[in-house]
Symmetry: C2
Subunit: 343 residues, 2 copies
C-alpha cells in the first residue's frame, strides 16, 4: 500500500483502517473461510459445523474506566461483548481465551472479583476459559478476550444478507447503555441512586448477550442480515448497508427506548432520538427481514421470547444512503456512532 | 477463592496468578479439551486432528519499546512469538487474529510498515489474518495476537511429557535475544553498529519460530516434553518440571551461546551463563528426550536440519528441584527468568 506522507489514523478512522487491512489481507483466503468484516470469522470445523471466532480489545480509559466500574461488572462485560458477537451470527459459545494486563499493585481481591463476574456469565452460557496471557502493565489495564463458538453452516447469518425492501428490526431497547455511560461520565456512582439512573447503569455494566435470540433468528429463513448493536444503530446499520450494497431508512419515532432513558433524557436534557440512534453498547440484535415474512417471524418470536421485535426501518436500494425520517420527513441526526480512531 | 486482604499480584507473581486461575477454571473441562498450562489449548477438530489455539499480549513499555523497534520488526515479532507457541506443540499454523490499539496520531505509514513486517512472516508460514479488533488508545500501544493451528492428536507434545532420566536439549543458541535487549536498553540503535551488536539485535527483533523443527520433533517417539524458550531456560524448564512432576539438572558449560553473545558479554561485563540460562525470547525449542533414543534422534535431526541438538541437562526425580552444575559442582544462578508481575 502506498500512503500519502503524514496521513494519520485519525484521518481515515477505524472503518477506513479496517477497509485498508481487508484489502491487504483478504485477497487469498480459501473459499471455506470468511475473514475480516463480520462479527465473527467463520472457519471449517466438523462436517457441516463451522467454528466462529471473535475477539475484542478493552482498554481502561477508552472502553471502560477502572475507577468507575466494579471488577465483577468488568469481568462479566469483557465476556458478554464477545458472546454478543457470537449471538450476532447465530453461534453457540464453546471456549474463551483471556489476555489481561494488570498493574503489579493490583490487589488479588480485585482480580478475584473480576473472575467471579466472568464466571457468573461463563457458567450460565457454558463457555470454558481455556487459556490466554497474563502480564503486568506499567500503564493502564488491558483486556483482550477471544471467544470460539459453533454454528451449522446453513444457519449462519451475515451482515451481507440484506436486500432492498427488507424491514429493519432490533431485539431490544436502544440507547440505555449510552445513557448509563453519560451518567457515569458526569457523576460519581454513589450519586446515582435514582431508579432510572440505576436502570441505565445496569444496562451499561451488565449487557445481556442475546444468544438464544440470535440462535433462533439465525434459523429463520425470513431473516436476511444480522449483527449486534455494539457501536450504535447508526454505525452498525451502515456496516450492513456496506456489506449488502444497499441503503436504509430509519423511522426515529419507532426507535424503542426504555422509560428510564425517557426520564433521564428529560431530566438531563439529552436528545432522546440521538441517544437511541447513535448510542453504542446495547448489545441487542439488529436484523433485516423479508417483508412478506415479518408478521410470521414476529409471531414466532413472541411465542418463544414473550415480547415482540421492534421494527425501526427499511432497507432501500439507494446504496450507501442512510436516511432518518421523523413523521415522514427526512431529518439530519447530529451525532453518528462511535469510531475508535476519531476522537 | 478467598484472599488475604491487601495481597497484591506482585506478591504471587505471574505463575502464582495463573495457578490460581487454573484451579478456578480447569475443574469442569471435558476430556477432549486441554486448557490453561501449556503453550496452546488443544481443542477437538476434524477426526483425529486437533485445533491448537494460543494468544499473546504485547504492550509498549513492557514487551517492547515503540521508540526502539522498527514497525516492520514489531509486526513480524507479534506474529512470530505466537507461531513459536504452535511450534512448541508440533502444530502447523492456519489462521491469526490481531487486536491492536494505536494512538490516534499514529501515522498510517507506521501502520503500513507494521503490516508489511507481519506479512513477510505470514506469507512464509501461510497463516491467514482473519480478523481482530482495532481501536485508538489514549495511552501506549497494545497488541494482542491469537493464532490457530492444527496437529494430529497423537503427534502433539505437552509440557507434562518429561520422565526422570530424560535428557534435556534445546534447538538453538540461548541468551542472544536477551543480549540484544540489554544493548537496546543501554544505547540508541544508531550507536549499535558493530557486527556482534547487530547480530544480537537481530536475534531480539526477528526471532524465527521453529515450526519445521517443532513439527519434526513432535513426530519422534523419543521426545517426551516440548515447549518453546520464551521466558528463559530457567523459567521454562521449571514449567516442564511442574507439569511433569520432576526435577532437573542443567550443565552450565553446555549451554549453547553465539560468538556474538560471547564477544558482547566480554565487552559489556555480562555474566555469560546467567544471560544464557535466564534470558528470555530466544524462541528455540526446549525438549526432553528418552536417553536411549537420543543419539538416533540427534542423527535424524542433523540429517534434516544440518545441525545438532544441544544437550544441556537431565530430568531427575527430585520434584521441583532445578540444580545448575558447573564442572560437576552445584552453583547458584543469580537471576531467574522473567516473571511478568514481579518488577
Amino acid at each position: 500500500m502506498k500512503t500519502r506522507t503524514g496521513l494519520k489514523l485519525s484521518d481515515v478512522g477505524e472503518f477506513g483502517f479496517i477497509a485498508r487491512l481487508a484489502r491487504t489481507f483478504n485477497q487469498r483466503l480459501s473459499e471455506n473461510v470468511t475473514g475480516i468484516g463480520d462479527d465473527c470469522a467463520v472457519l471449517p470445523w466438523k462436517g457441516d459445523w463451522k467454528l466462529l471466532v471473535t475477539t475484542d480489545l478493552l482498554l481502561d480509559g477508552v472502553h471502560f474506566l477502572k475507577e468507575k466500574i466494579e471488577p465483577t461488572d468488568l469481568g462479566y462485560k469483557a465476556l458478554a461483548v464477545n458472546l454478543s458477537d457470537l449471538a450476532a451470527m447465530g453461534g453457540e459459545p464453546l471456549w474463551a481465551f483471556l489476555s489481561i494486563a494488570l498493574p503489579a499493585e493490583t490487589e488479588l481481591a480485585w482480580a478475584d472479583r473480576f473472575f467471579s463476574g466472568w464466571k457468573s456469565l461463563s457458567e450460565k452460557t457454558q463457555v470454558k476459559l481455556l487459556g490466554g496471557d497474563t502480564t503486568r502493565t506499567t500503564a493502564s489495564m488491558v483486556i483482550n478476550v477471544a471467544v470460539l463458538g459453533k454454528a451449522r453452516e446453513k444457519y449462519i447469518k451475515y451482515r451481507s444478507g440484506a436486500r432492498p425492501e427488507d424491514l429493519v428490526a432490533v431485539t431490544g431497547e436502544l440507547g440505555s447503555s449510552e445513557g448509563g455511560l453519560r451518567l457515569l461520565l458526569k457523576k460519581e456512582l454513589k450519586d446515582l441512586r435514582g431508579p432510572a439512573e440505576k436502570s441505565l447503569l445496569r444496562r451499561h455494566f451488565r449487557p445481556r448477550p442475546q444468544l438464544q435470540e440470535g440462535f433462533f433468528l439465525a434459523h429463520q429463513p425470513q431473516v436476511g442480515a444480522m449483527m449486534d448493536v455494539s457501536d450504535g444503530l447508526d454505525s452498525d446499520l451502515r456496516r450492513i448497508m456496506e456489506r449488502s450494497g444497499t441503503g436504509a431508512e430509519v423511522y426515529l419515532e419507532k426507535l424503542p427506548v426504555s422509560p428510564a432513558l425517557k426520564r433521564c433524557s428529560q431530566q438531563y436534557g439529552w436528545r432522546l432520538e440521538e441517544v437511541a440512534a447513535a448510542g453504542g453498547e446495547d448489545y441487542c440484535l439488529l436484523i433485516t427481514v423479508r417483508p412478506e415474512g415479518y408478521s410470521d417471524l414476529d409471531r414466532h418470536y413472541r411465542q418463544k421470547f414473550g415480547r415482540s421485535l421492534y421494527p425501526v426501518g427499511r432497507i432501500t436500494s439507494k446504496k450507501g444512503k442512510l436516511i432518518y425520517l421523523q413523521a415522514g420527513q427526512p431529518v439530519i441526526l447530529q451525532k453518528s456512532g462511535f469510531d475508535h480512531f476519531k476522537i
